[in-house]
């Protein structure tokens, strides 16, 4: 059931969250002007907005946001392609599973950021060091989820495909991949979230550019409004990463939405 646009505009799904946001922002603004909140710590939202505008006009904002987004995309691809390949192989061949699965399961629970000092020990404080660190845990996560995607395929589906004459590449492209896609996407979504956390953390620790670096730098020189702008953009990117891929998956695989809801995975 899809409610019409006008009903949606006045529905509680939209009005209540909007009201809370406005109340919080207005209270913040008012409390600062009344002197209850220290402007040095919590600059009023209007000041933050004008700083945001200034940074957007000067182009500095786009530089940092673009850098972070670029790093996120490159490291995600570095995780996605080998991770999916390894995971599918692990799900399909028992030998591959016995070899790789224990290693993946051994490395996965290691806190992702702990790889950073080890990686830069060998690669130096370079762009590749950043990207590789941000790719490791997502890679492992995608491998595990892709393997699970193949393992959980229904045998009847495979049998039906075979009976209709699908073999080898055709069986893989026409039967296995479409059936495994929803589970693959769960892995991608989780991996992107983890990759984003690590990217920001590594930027804060070690990078000049990028939103994490910008945030850390503006704290060190106590440009508080800029710090809030950095925080805000990281939050926006986080929301995009967390909920954007989910929306994309729903659009790409409409046949799976109800199924996943039914299984309680949403």
């Amino acid at each position: 059931m899809v409610p019409s646009r006008v009903t949606w505009l006045f529905s509680r799904e939209l009005t209540i969250p909007l009201a809370t946001s406005l109340v919080v922002l207005a209270a913040w603004e008012a409390l600062v002007h009344a002197g209850f909140l220290r402007a040095a710590f919590f600059p009023p939202p209007t000041n933050i907005a004008s700083t945001l505008f200034g940074l957007a006009v000067s182009g500095e904002l786009w530089l940092h946001a673009g850098t972070t987004l670029g790093r996120l995309i490159v490291s995600f691809l570095m995780a996605l392609i080998p991770g999916t390949a390894l995971g599918l192989a692990m799900g399909w061949w028992i030998g591959m599973r016995l070899t790789a699965d224990p290693l993946v399961r051994l490395l996965f629970p290691i806190p992702s950021i702990a790889f950073f000092p080890v990686v830069i020990f060998y690669l130096g404080l370079s762009e590749w060091g950043l990207l590789l660190t941000a790719a490791i845990t997502p890679f492992l996560l995608i491998a595990v989820q892709s393997a699970a995607a193949v393992e959980s395929l229904e045998r009847t589906l495979l049998e039906a495909g075979r009976n209709y004459g699908a073999r080898g590449r055709r069986l893989f492209l026409r039967v296995i991949l479409p059936a495994a896609l929803p589970r693959l996407f769960i892995g991608y979504r989780l991996a992107l979230g983890v990759g984003f956390i690590v990217t920001v953390a590594v930027e804060m620790v070690a990078a000049k550019h990028g939103l994490g670096g910008f945030l850390w730098h503006s704290w060190q020189i106590l440009r508080i409004e800029e710090m809030y702008v950095g925080l805000m953009l990281i939050g926006l990117l986080g929301i995009l990463v967390t909920y954007g891929l989910e929306a994309l998956a729903d659009r790409m695989m409409p046949w799976q939405v109800d199924l996943l809801r039914l299984k309680g995975q949403r």
Partner: protein
């Protein structure tokens, strides 16, 4: 598909890696200053542990992790349950919870340092927030995912109010609450290590960072191994405890990697 329980076979490929690593070192292909062979690393790790220094750092990290978990636990479960049961509360807090959930909590560190100062309290507060947000969201999700038919069945058998909550709703949501605790702890461990890397003198992260900066490969690997063991214990140890405490929950090997 259910897979058979882990057996001795899972040890084979890690052992092969260790043996190959040792052989490559013996053949002179891996230089011990860069990649110390397992035969040197083992004794070094034991010596570090015997000296007590590594234990101290481990203790500091675990203390930070444990304290933030304890602080976050009760409020997160209470809030999560209320949000799961009240639609209005859920909608009202949605913007705040959504942004807090989506933002990497380490990005809040500068703000917290600004307000609370650069000290232990800041670290504990930021880690508590990490655990809190994750556990709240998981608890809420757990309540929302409770099967309607189970609730109906409970009502038909005469369970209402507290009894419905205690015997039907809560046990059904408990597996998700527990998963939230485990994921919360893992995320908090990442945060604690990340903060320790730069802003702390003590803790495993600080030890790891110092080892890297002073080019001490043996210390670096030792610290990494200890951090890895902590991560493994959190993930697999808690999963075992969960299966033991809640025999009614569905076991899924992939759910462990959320």
């Amino acid at each position: 598909m259910a897979r058979p329980q882990a057996s001795w076979r899972v040890l084979v490929s890690p052992l092969i890696v260790v043996v190959v690593w040792e052989l490559l070192s013996a053949a002179g292909i891996l230089r011990p200053n860069y990649v110390p062979p397992p035969s040197q690393l083992g004794p070094h790790l034991l010596a570090l542990l015997a000296g007590g220094e590594l234990w101290r750092h481990l203790g500091v990290t675990l203390y930070r992790l444990g304290l933030s978990f304890v602080f976050a636990l009760i409020p997160a479960i209470l809030l999560g349950l209320s949000l799961g049961m009240s639609r209005t509360a859920r909608l009202a807090l949605e913007p705040i919870l959504t942004s807090l959930y989506a933002i990497p909590k380490i990005a809040l560190l500068p703000l917290v340092m600004l307000v609370l100062g650069v000290n232990e309290r800041t670290l504990i507060f930021t880690s508590t927030l990490t655990s809190f947000v994750q556990m709240t969201v998981s608890t809420m999700g757990g309540v929302l995912a409770v099967d309607r038919s189970i609730l109906e069945a409970g009502k038909n058998y005469g369970a209402t109010g507290w009894r419905l909550f205690r015997y039907v709703l809560f046990p059904s949501a408990l597996p998700d609450i527990f998963t939230g605790m485990r994921i919360g702890l893992s995320l908090t461990l990442v945060l604690v290590i990340a903060v320790e890397l730069t802003a702390a003198q003590e803790g495993l992260g600080a030890f790891l960072w110092t080892a890297g900066q002073t080019f001490s490969a043996k210390n670096l690997f030792s610290a990494f191994i200890v951090i890895g063991v902590v991560g493994l214990t959190l993930t697999y140890g808690l999963e075992r405890i969960g299966n033991w405490l809640m025999p009614w929950r569905e076991r899924s090997s992939a759910a462990m990697f959320l």
